[in-house]
């Protein structure tokens, strides 16, 4: 009995020790916030993107979502719910879409870095202990949890993500180190005043520096090489469609492919080989889109073949030939108006221009030339032979000409063959 009492006392002591241990190792929730910078400087490096006005790769949607949106989702995935984005642009820019959970700040080019520093200070004032800073351009799938752990274990002020030893524009900054952060922002993320250890990442990386990267990004998303997936639902294996995408009867969408919201694939069109038709884009009747990306608000004309290209903003980047072609012909490629009011105005103007033209053609146009009759043509002697020669073709008087079917045609591939 005494032995049992001793055991109870020992057990009681163990429980007290266990509670004390729990108190010691209680995990305190850290306030970690995300910050995304998007400036045009990274976009304008490559000639392909430099030709495109207002084109920033971080904001362009690929398979339904922009790199900004995908990075914000990745922050949320790792439990970083409060994300601030500082985007270079004017307040009048209409392309900026509100994103849930992301507060967006527009900054003019000359004030971009100043605004970024202010946004960082605001996060610190709001109670952030650690800020993860990502600059787009490049899209990288970093394991933020491991990066933060590495930062804390190393007692770093600032740490930087790297891939194969090459540093990326992704930083982990201790909020208390404002001077380090300030020097980082003032040097446009090129220099840090204190030691900045590298965190090696082996995750997916795409520089998004040129159209080829944009295309590769679409391919990687559609073939599930990335941890991020296409937007919308998978209607068939490998075919994703966003809400309100229109695929007309007779159109063929072959996996893997993506059709974005409000995009329209008309009858007879074919979309195949990792092609991505972004939101509000249109593919007209009979057009084939193969291994290509049709950027938002781009309308492809009828009976075309777009292969190995990125099309949009009245331009086609041919990735095989490595060249950009500006196309001003609306029969081939045009930029669809982004607002419904503009669309209505354009449609009304086209109708107003079309009807008088048709009336004019109907009244003053030249009459259509009569179709030559095959039998009559066969009965005629060739003018080059001359009637004086008295030559008459063997088929002229006979009914042999009627034996030929009326739809007989001769196709020649080359003139001299």
């Amino acid at each position: 009995m005494r032995l049992k009492a001793d055991a109870l006392v020992a057990l009681h002591k163990d429980a007290a020790a266990l509670n004390a241990l729990r108190e010691c190792i209680r995990v305190r929730v850290m306030d970690i916030r995300g910050m995304i910078l998007i400036d045009s400087a990274s976009a304008a490096i490559e000639s392909g993107f430099a030709l495109m006005p207002c084109f920033i790769p971080g904001l362009i949607e690929v398979a339904g979502k922009s790199a900004l949106q995908r990075t914000a989702e990745r922050f949320n995935h790792f439990g970083v719910s409060q994300v601030t984005a500082v985007i270079e642009g004017q307040s009048s820019d209409s392309w900026l879409k509100p994103l849930s959970g992301v507060s967006q700040t527009l900054a003019s080019p000359d004030r971009f870095w100043r605004a970024s520093e202010t946004a960082f200070n605001d996060l610190v004032q709001a109670g952030a202990e650690l800020v993860i800073l990502v600059r787009l351009g490049a899209y990288a799938e970093i394991d933020f949890e491991s990066m933060v752990q590495s930062h804390l274990d190393g007692h770093c002020r600032v740490s930087q993500a790297a891939r194969s030893g090459q540093p990326m524009d992704i930083f982990c900054i201790s909020a208390s180190r404002r001077n380090d952060a300030a020097s980082l922002f003032r040097s446009h993320l090129t220099r840090c005043r204190s030691d900045c250890p590298l965190f090696e990442s082996a995750g997916y990386f795409n520089p998004l520096a040129e159209p080829l990267d944009l295309r590769q990004f679409a391919i990687d998303i559609l073939t599930l090489q990335t941890q991020t997936a296409p937007a919308g639902i998978q209607v068939r294996p490998g075919v994703w469609t966003a809400p309100r995408a229109q695929i007309e009867k007779g159109a063929r969408v072959l996996a893997p492919a993506f059709v974005g919201s409000f995009a329209r694939v008309r009858s007879g069109a074919v979309v195949t080989r990792c092609s991505s038709i972004e939101h509000h884009a249109q593919v007209d009747c009979g057009t084939v889109v193969e291994n290509s990306t049709v950027l938002p608000y781009c309308s492809l004309g009828a009976a075309l073949e777009l292969a190995h290209s990125v099309a949009g903003f009245s331009r086609v980047w041919n990735l095989r030939r490595g060249c950009v072609v500006e196309i001003n012909d609306k029969k081939l490629l045009r930029h669809v108006s982004e607002t419904s009011g503009n669309k209505l105005l354009v449609s009304a103007a086209e109708l107003v221009a079309y009807l008088p033209r048709q009336f004019w053609r109907g009244i003053f146009g030249q009459p259509a030339s009569p179709q030559p009759d095959l039998n009559a043509a066969l009965r005629q002697t060739s003018p080059t032979l001359g009637s004086a020669s008295g030559y008459r073709a063997p088929a002229c008087d006979s009914e042999a000409a009627n034996e030929f079917p009326s739809n007989l045609v001769v196709a020649r591939t080359h003139g001299n063959q």
């Binding site: 004309g301 030939r321 001003n328």
Partner: protein, 129 residues
């Protein structure tokens, strides 16, 4: 035997081929197209912009040439011209050569062997290296 080889006309296309320039260009080449069995080469090396009207003009020229038992070939297309020809699916309708010389020389490629040999003998010899 005297071989009466027909001339091959090589025309360089303008830098921008839109509706207006295509009409002007067509007017320029119309006399050659109206000849008997025309042999034409269009040099596209300078073409930086080509639109649907330009492609339509090329097809019309080819059609006119074929009507008269001739042919139209394209030479040295710029990457921009290639992209538009591919986009409009017309690149497969034309014979396309890397240089105008190759295109012009290809017209004699269809001659019978005997005539081709005679043509070769008539050519001045290249200077020895």
């Amino acid at each position: 035997m005297e071989i009466n080889s027909r001339p091959v006309v090589v025309k360089r296309m303008p830098e921008r081929v839109n509706g207006r320039t295509a009409r002007e260009f067509l007017r320029d080449v119309q006399p050659f197209l109206s000849a008997d069995r025309p042999q034409l080469v269009f040099d596209l090396s300078q073409v930086a912009q080509l639109d649907a009207a330009g492609v339509e003009m090329l097809l019309r020229c080819m059609s006119e040439a074929h009507k008269r038992d001739g042919d139209l070939k394209l030479a040295a297309p710029s990457p921009q011209a290639c992209v538009v020809l591919e986009l409009t699916r017309t690149e497969r309708l034309f014979e396309i050569y890397e240089t105008s010389t190759d295109a012009a020389r290809s017209f004699s490629g269809f001659l019978p062997n005997a005539m081709r040999q005679q043509l070769l003998h008539r050519r001045p010899h290249a200077p020895a290296a």
